[in-house]
């Protein structure tokens, strides 16, 4: 392994700056009533970690049940509730807010040289909405749960189940508003709050990715909201919009639901892609290859993302013509995704690559996302989809994208910016180990599921034929390893808050504006409004800066 690029200040003299956004004010209220985007990001970070662990525990239960072919750990009804709540919590309370509400919240203003997001109160409101929704979701779980699957499919959700559809729906509705407010805030901030010299094409690609994801949040989420309202009204007073006995069409619900929920997949993955652009540039010491192409591919994914929703409905009785069109459009999404992967790969070419933890996660992302994306093309092909849909192939596919892609990117980002957020380094060796463990555990968990899917094992059942057991045992064993891989960062990151090495302002020698200020930053971010006088990812500029500093200090 080659030398690292980490440059830490002399540990015997280095101190965390006395005045920073964490020490500025004390007391619980100063956090709960804060308008500071950095503090809100920390609040979000703590809360999504909490929900991640609930969702993770449910995943553990699912895998444990599937260890044996019979439904023996829990009743089949309970199993339905467990996988439903796993989906609801992981999607609406972890993946959707994961990178945007934590890292995006923290770093978008820093990256564009602003003092805060444009609407700090709305930002805080979005966290409160998120918490209210989350508490409601936990309440529904405690009082019996819901067993419709996270998709609330009608008429099951409106007519046939007696579980907490309404409260869960309300929780998702409220969480949706939290997400709308986050997206809205980002768009306004990126448009109106950039510092002098920060043109659109000097913004880090992280900001571009969030801009694209925000468009999806703002345009998609309200459609989910109205779909949920209609389900709720149908369930309570019995309006007939989705009820075939009255002339309504359950397929309309599918259209409205997936009009949000397909773009939601890109809401989840795009911010992760933004993280990858940052880490890959920093740890190969090169400007991201094809900056403009990567920037526009984010927007292209956002735009195409709105025209592919019906590929979730190929077996639900949509016409052959729309199947053809949506199949073609679905494959079109592969193009901007591939543009990103290829450009990141070209960035590596002739770069000075080092293998710090964020970079290991980044490599994990690239491999796993590519597999997840390509299997997405299989599924976009209508013929293959009809064979594979509702099997474990689907489960494996979206876990490769969401867990293998997004969660890897999230962890890459958390490690990458941890020194900036806390002022302290995480321990390098053990975190590299955690990254490798996660990668191995992930593949062991989800790769067998591709095979199970092609063999025909259906999803969402507590029991399965005994011949599938070997692969399921592999999968459950992998889940255990994966669990360890996720537990480790929690432990050592918490440890590092007190005992980690002092990071200094720019441990990675990265070029973003966020690295040119103290860590942790001041409440007002920049003492003086910065002026962006260079392109982003300009490592020569950084070198000159460092020389200048040395000269002036010397």
């Amino acid at each position: 392994m080659s030398a690292t690029i980490v440059t830490l200040p002399d540990q015997s003299t280095a101190r965390i700056p006395k005045v920073n956004f964490i020490t500025k004010e004390n007391g619980l209220l100063s956090w709960l009533l804060t308008g500071d985007h950095k503090r809100i990001a920390i609040l979000y970070l703590i809360s999504i970690t909490f929900f991640f662990f609930i969702g993770g525990a449910l995943a553990g239960l699912i895998r444990l049940e599937l260890l044996t072919p019979q439904a023996d750990l829990m009743a089949t009804d309970t199993y339905n509730k467990v996988f439903t709540m796993h989906g609801v919590i992981m999607i609406f309370f972890f993946l959707v807010p994961s990178v945007p509400a934590t890292l995006g919240n923290f770093f978008i203003p820093l990256m564009i040289g602003a003092k805060d997001l444009a609407l700090p109160k709305i930002n805080l409101l979005s966290w409160y909405l998120y918490m209210a929704a989350g508490m409601l979701a936990i309440y529904t779980m405690a009082t019996g749960g819901v067993d419709t699957g996270w998709t609330f499919t009608t008429p099951l959700s409106t007519h046939y189940v007696n579980t907490n559809v309404l409260t869960t729906g309300l929780a998702v509705f409220i969480a949706g508003f939290s997400s709308i407010f986050t997206g809205l805030n980002f768009i306004v901030t990126i448009h109106k709050m950039r510092c002098p010299g920060m043109t659109w094409f000097r913004m880090p690609l992280f900001v571009w990715a969030h801009y694209a994801a925000s468009i999806l949040m703002v345009l998609g989420t309200p459609v989910l909201a109205i779909a949920i309202v209609l389900v709720a009204l149908e369930r309570t007073i019995g309006i007939g919009v989705f009820d075939p006995t009255k002339g309504g069409d359950p397929l309309l619900f599918q259209h409205l639901f997936w009009f949000y929920s397909h773009p939601a997949v890109y809401i989840m993955i795009l911010p992760g892609m933004g993280v990858i652009s940052e880490t890959i540039s920093t740890f190969s010491r090169k400007r991201v290859f094809g900056y403009t192409a990567v920037a526009f591919s984010s927007v292209a994914i956002a735009v195409f993302g709105f025209f592919v929703w019906a590929h979730h409905m190929f077996i639900m009785g949509i016409s052959n013509y729309s199947m053809l069109v949506f199949s073609l459009l679905t494959m079109l999404v592969a193009v901007p995704s591939a543009i990103k992967i290829f450009n990141w790969t070209f960035t590596l070419y002739k770069g000075s690559i080092t293998f710090e933890t964020p970079m290991l996660y980044t490599f994990g992302f690239m491999g796993l996302f590519t597999i997840g994306g390509l299997t997405g093309v299989f599924l976009g092909t209508s013929g293959t989809d009809i064979h594979l849909t509702e099997t474990y192939f689907i489960v494996a596919h979206f876990h490769f994208v969401m867990v293998g892609g997004m969660l890897m990117a999230f962890l890459a980002g958390i490690h990458f910016w941890w020194p900036k957020m806390t002022g302290r380094m995480y321990p390098e060796k053990i975190s590299q180990l955690a990254a490798v463990v996660t990668f191995i555990g992930f593949n062991l968990t989800f790769f067998p599921q591709f095979i199970l899917g092609t063999l025909g094992m259906p999803r969402r059942y507590a029991a399965y034929p005994p011949e599938f057991q070997v692969l399921n045992v592999f999968s459950t064993a992998g889940a255990t390893i994966l669990g360890v891989g996720y537990l480790l960062p929690i432990l050592y990151l918490t440890w590092s808050l007190k005992y980690g090495a002092i990071a200094g302002s720019n441990p990675w020698q990265a070029t973003g504006l966020e690295w040119q200020i103290q860590s942790p930053p001041l409440t007002e971010n920049f003492a003086v409004t910065p002026i962006m006088d260079h392109e982003c990812y300009d490592y020569e500029w950084l070198e000159k800066q460092t020389e200048k500093e040395v000269a002036s200090v010397g």
Binding site: D116, V223, I226, L230, I237, V241, G247, A527, T529
Partner: protein, 249 residues
């Protein structure tokens, strides 16, 4: 800290700092700009929200055209038109309110807001009259829904005299329930937005009397005005779709 504060102050020089300028904005223009932009984006989300309903309406209207025509005969054009007039007038008073705020006329602003408030309540009052009619005739979708007026139009003489509807086949008559589902959801969602708007209006009247909004900081009034006009425009679409089109076929 003291250093950075001093620097930040030096940076701003001698510019005047109105008290309503939030710390993270460079100047008042940027602040107003950002707030206005955010409001337009929010209205965009509202367009998408109602868009889902309009989509449903378009699809079902195409499928169940005769049911939609006959069900729309149950709506009273007089009340609908009156309500449209009330709402447009309230938009006018709201626009006048924004103008008063911009030109710093405190009593004018309070007067306009109160008028808007009253007109908003008036709209909801008229809507209640209309809803009551539907409830009385069992045209609220759900358990008590009655097809009587559509399978046997003569049983509903008031409407029959005006339109002389032929009875619908049971199959098609059942689909009037979809029409009324959409009617209640669309006008109900609209009314919900009105109620929220009226609540905010009350809050604004209270604050405007104390001199808020007429000190040069009009962003809140302006943005609320945008919201109010948006709710108005939704009705401008709902009125023809639900009451007017194809009424005489």
């Amino acid at each position: 800290m003291s250093d950075s504060t001093a620097l930040a102050h030096a940076e701003h020089g001698h510019e005047e700092h109105p008290s309503y300028l939030r710390h993270h904005f460079e100047n008042v223009e940027q602040q107003a700009d950002a707030a206005g932009f955010a409001m337009w984006l929010f209205l965009l989300t509202e367009v998408m929200f109602f868009g889902g309903l309009f989509t449903a309406y378009l699809i079902y209207r195409n499928w169940y055209y005769p049911a939609f025509v006959q069900a729309s005969h149950q709506l009273d054009i007089f009340w609908g038109t009156l309500n449209t007039a009330v709402l447009i007038t309230s938009s006018f008073t709201m626009a006048m309110g924004v103008w008063c705020a911009e030109t710093r006329r405190r009593s004018g602003l309070v007067f306009c807001l109160i008028l808007t408030f009253i007109l908003g309540i008036g709209f909801l009052g008229i809507k209640t009259i209309e809803y009551k009619e539907k409830i009385d005739k069992h045209h609220v979708p759900g358990f008590h829904y009655s097809l009587q007026s559509f399978t046997n139009p003569q049983s509903d003489p008031e409407i029959y005299e005006k339109y002389h509807d032929k009875p619908l086949a049971l199959d098609m008559a059942r689909h009037t329930e979809v029409y009324f589902s959409l009617y209640f959801v669309m006008t109900g969602m609209h009314a919900l937005h009105m109620i929220i708007g009226i609540a905010i209006l009350g809050f604004m009247i209270f604050r405007a009397r104390g001199g808020a909004y007429t000190n040069g900081h009009v962003t809140f009034v302006e943005n609320f005005g945008l919201y109010w006009h948006f709710v108005d425009i939704v009705w401008i679409f709902l009125f023809p779709l639900l009451y007017l089109i194809s009424r005489h076929q």
